[in-house]
């Protein structure tokens, strides 16, 4: 049959660039709107990763300018270590080229696809090459490249290359131009704001056509760069083990101790024994059956979890709080960094934070901020395991209303850091549903929920004391009035009740028939001098006692009386006016005073 031969002639290898050219959506370039955010995200991720490796406080400049009817020029410039000139074409002009793919540690970018995909996208839509300027130190000169990708071979195509006069001492600047729209400007700013929250050591300056924004850093400490570790014996598959064994020149015992994290001599010997293999035999020659036995033994013997403190870089509770404080005004913020844990041999760590009250919108679903390895996740919130976990927590038991998601003035941040974040797709929008990770997220949220409940109940307690003061000082006197009228007896005096119940300095302000009265009843032990501040439109010219000080601003008078109210005595201030202002008492502990405004 000749047909098979015919068919064979058509068979050929496909370059990975061709593959992704046809499958742009896999990388987040499926629409012109998304393209901008994806490109900036990839460039910023690279910049932050590079600064981290170089232990530099990141200073990142981002610019987006319209250059044609639908062409936008995107520039991202960092103060990182720069890229060696000979590497530049590969980093930007070849897909699947990178330094971090095989390293077991937390990084933002990893696959070596992101930024070169943007270069590819530019080349396909605008036809313009990407311009890269990089300098690796003050002794070196900067280099400027114009780069494209040879799609058939996935190799860089250098359009031009040469030294360049650049005022930066070290850093990289990339300029990409492609077809796009700025329809998602709000989303872009949101992305930068969220990025700045989880990278509190970084400063971002943004120029967006005519506007400019700065997201300032709140921490001056560089963050420790995660260090790569060996694979963990519990998190390895057969194929990987076989590959490692084939490539190794070691004897079994050494292979186990040197090739895997947390395997000591004792554990290694245990593994050999359990697998029925000799420790002094070279692993290279092992049969598949022997390797299977070894794998079973490696997974059966207990060894500690991978050393996450090296390979992961959590933000930390303090910095998360500061980051959130900078961008949102809230009454309460708490953060939690969970201990590290493992799924399929990959270390991971969950951090979460809850904010409450303040200027958060009082109605509607909670605001959710999702992060993976310090990168905000901007799309597919509904498909993300983080969202699912948030819905699964029983928020009602923390006195937070809930309709699927919690509702009310609440903000929830979740950060998943891992040596290998499991996304649902290569566009990295949503975290896949991994039971181990979900468990940690739920635990962190429950822990924070308890803190929040405590805060809310404490706040309510404060309200309770105020409420009681109002009952005793404002309502009971009215009851007394009415009841006395009914029983036709003189009005009963309720101040003993006040004193008994409150044991404080009670200041009551009330207005009746054009007369403002401030009554100060001292049921506390305190007998020093206090100051009464009252701000309203009244000038209190006829005040009795006289004011000690009056100042005016925009028609509002601030009146101050300095008064000594001996214990168990009652003083009064009165003047003509309509009041309706603010009253404050200074010079005595908050716990020892209670101010009641009877006009409210």
């Amino acid at each position: 049959m000749v047909l098979a031969e015919d068919l064979a002639k058509q068979q050929r290898s496909i370059s990975v660039a061709e593959f992704f050219e046809k499958n742009k959506h896999l990388l987040g370039f499926d629409s012109p709107t998304r393209g901008v955010i994806t490109t900036i995200k990839e460039a910023v991720d690279n910049a932050l990763d590079a600064c981290e490796e170089a232990q530099v406080l990141p200073d990142i400049f981002i610019s987006i300018k319209k250059t044609g009817s639908d062409i936008f020029r995107i520039i991202v410039e960092d103060n990182g270590p720069g890229i060696m000139p000979k590497q530049v074409p590969y980093v930007f002009g070849k897909l699947l080229y990178g330094s971090r793919f095989h390293q077991i540690r937390q990084t933002r970018g990893q696959q070596g696809i992101g930024i070169s995909a943007a270069v590819l996208y530019a080349q396909l839509t605008s036809g313009l090459p990407t311009v890269v300027i990089s300098r690796t130190g003050h002794k070196e000169s900067a280099h400027r490249f114009e780069i494209q990708i040879k799609i058939e071979t996935n190799e860089p195509d250098i359009i031009s290359e040469g030294p360049f006069e650049w005022d930066r001492i070290h850093g990289t600047r990339v300029q990409i131009e492609f077809k796009s729209t700025m329809a998602a400007k709000k989303k872009l700013l949101e992305y930068l704001r969220y990025t700045s929250i989880v990278n509190p050591h970084a400063r971002f300056r943004v120029e967006l056509d005519d506007e400019s924004f700065t997201f300032e850093r709140v921490s001056q400490e560089v963050i420790a760069c995660p260090v790569a570790i060996q694979p963990h014996p519990h998190g390895i598959e057969f194929g990987q083990l076989k590959r490692m064994a084939t490539a190794s020149d070691d004897k079994l015992l050494d292979f186990l101790v040197n090739g895997f994290s947390r395997v000591g001599k004792k554990s290694a010997q245990d593994m050999c024994d359990q697998a029925g293999l000799k420790g002094m035999v070279k692993v290279k020659g092992f049969t598949a059956e022997q390797l299977k036995a070894l794998l079973a033994a490696m997974q059966a013997i207990a060894v500690p979890a991978p050393p996450s403190s090296q390979c992961l870089s959590p933000i930390g509770e303090e910095l998360i709080r500061r980051g959130l404080d900078k961008e949102f005004q809230m009454d309460f913020v708490a953060a939690r960094t969970r201990p590290s844990s493992v799924f399929s041999g990959h270390s991971f760590m969950v951090e979460a934070a809850i904010g409450y009250g303040g200027k958060l919108p009082a109605e509607g679903n909670a605001i959710i901020l999702r992060f993976a390895n310090r990168v905000p996740l901007m799309y597919q919130q509904g498909a993300c395991a983080i969202t699912d976990c948030i819905s699964r927590v029983n928020w009602k038991s923390y006195n937070i209303s809930q309709q699927g998601l919690p509702t009310g003035p609440i903000l929830i941040l979740v950060h998943v850091a891992s040596t290998n974040v499991p996304f649902t797709s290569e566009s990295k929008d949503a975290i896949a549903s991994i039971p181990e990770i979900e468990k940690e997220i739920v635990l962190a949220l429950q822990d924070l929920g308890r803190d929040l409940k405590l805060f809310v109940s404490r706040r309510d307690k404060g309200k309770l004391a105020e409420d009681r003061a109002r009952a005793v000082c404002a309502i009971i006197p009215e009851i007394a009035q009415k009841v006395s009228e009914i029983v036709e007896k003189p009005v009963v005096d309720t101040s003993p009740i006040e004193g008994k119940l409150m044991r404080k300095l009670i200041v009551k302000k009330g207005t009746r028939d054009g007369k403002v009265t401030i009554e100060l009843a001292n049921y506390s032990g305190y007998d020093g001098e206090i100051s009464v501040y009252e701000i309203s439109a009244d000038n209190a010219a006829d005040a009795n006692p006289k004011t000690d000080f009056v100042s005016e601003m925009d028609g509002q008078f601030t009146k101050v009386w300095k008064i000594v109210v001996p214990p168990k005595e009652i003083s009064r201030i009165s003047y003509s006016g309509k009041c309706g202002g603010i009253i404050e008492v200074r010079g005595i502990d908050d716990a020892k005073k209670m101010v009641v405004d009877l006009d409210v």
């Binding site: 309770l464 409420d467 009681r468 009952a471 009851i479 009841v483 009963v492 009740i497």
Partner: protein, 364 residues
Amino acid sequence: MSKEELEKKSMAALLRIASAWYDQMNVGEIPSISLPTRTKYNIEFDDASEVWKYGDKESTRTAASAKSATHLLKMAYVIGFIKQQLKENRSSTLREMYYISEGWKRAKFGAQDESNFLIEDLEILSEVPREGFHLHPEENGASIYGPMRIREETRRGMKTLHCQDDVGQAGYTIPNNVENIEFVDHDAKFVIAIETGGMYDRLIENGFDEEHNAILVHLKGQPARSTRRMLNKISTTWDLPVMVFTDGDPWSYRIYGSVAYGAIKSAHMSELLATPKAQFLGLQPSDIRDYNLPSDKLTDKDVEALKSELTDPRFATDYWRKQINLQIEMNLKSEQQAFAARGLDFVTKTYLPARLADMGILKS
């Protein structure tokens, strides 16, 4: 108790409440009130009066929070308002009082419900029914037709009325204040309280009242307060048996329950409003089976209501357990007018005579 006695008792009780608060405040205490808990788990059978009353569980409300203090303030205003009403011999509805509170500033009611609850609290505290406060319900009671004579104090003086001879075909309408009625005389053997107007009219049209010397009372669904008070008074004054004739579904058994045992929310008034001797005549679940009546399937809500009745202490008798379980098993309910399927005279000529004989009211 005469009208004057009731008013005197009422005034005294209200002043007692106010005085207690006055005294509390006078010695530096925060005023408070204690009330029984009003749930079905705090009602008990009182052997002496044979009615269900609130048990010992109490809750105390102290004016130590803004909410409680405001509640007491409102109560003080209401007491003041009632005192005024009694003095001027005026009366009003709860709804009117709700609107009058518009002028009470901080003591103004937020919603109609609130004034209703507060009046119930006052009834409990004072042991005086709201009629004693000159507060009357919105709606009149239902109708009575039968061989009895009453004397009623009206705005136009005392009226003596016979409930067959001196009234129209629709019968005598129970006024909203039964306390104004005197029971003169009667020629009746028993009372039938009927859920639906259709059945009430049927019994009158078929002359059942004349033939059997029966007083017929139309309940109009869940009976109004004055209808229940009327039945209570007929039963206690003349010691006549009271039979309750309703549809055959869980909601109708509750109608019987509220006639015989009183409602949970008015358990404090049980002695005045309940008729403990009232017996359930029908329509019994066993009647659906025995007379093969047209029927409907029970809904989920019906079944739920039946099951809730099985846990209600007031239905904890062998009779009710048997009937309710039978009904759940049959999964059927019927209306009392379903007897019409057997002919218009079936209910008066066959069913009622047989059932009343069974119950020992008529000789068989």
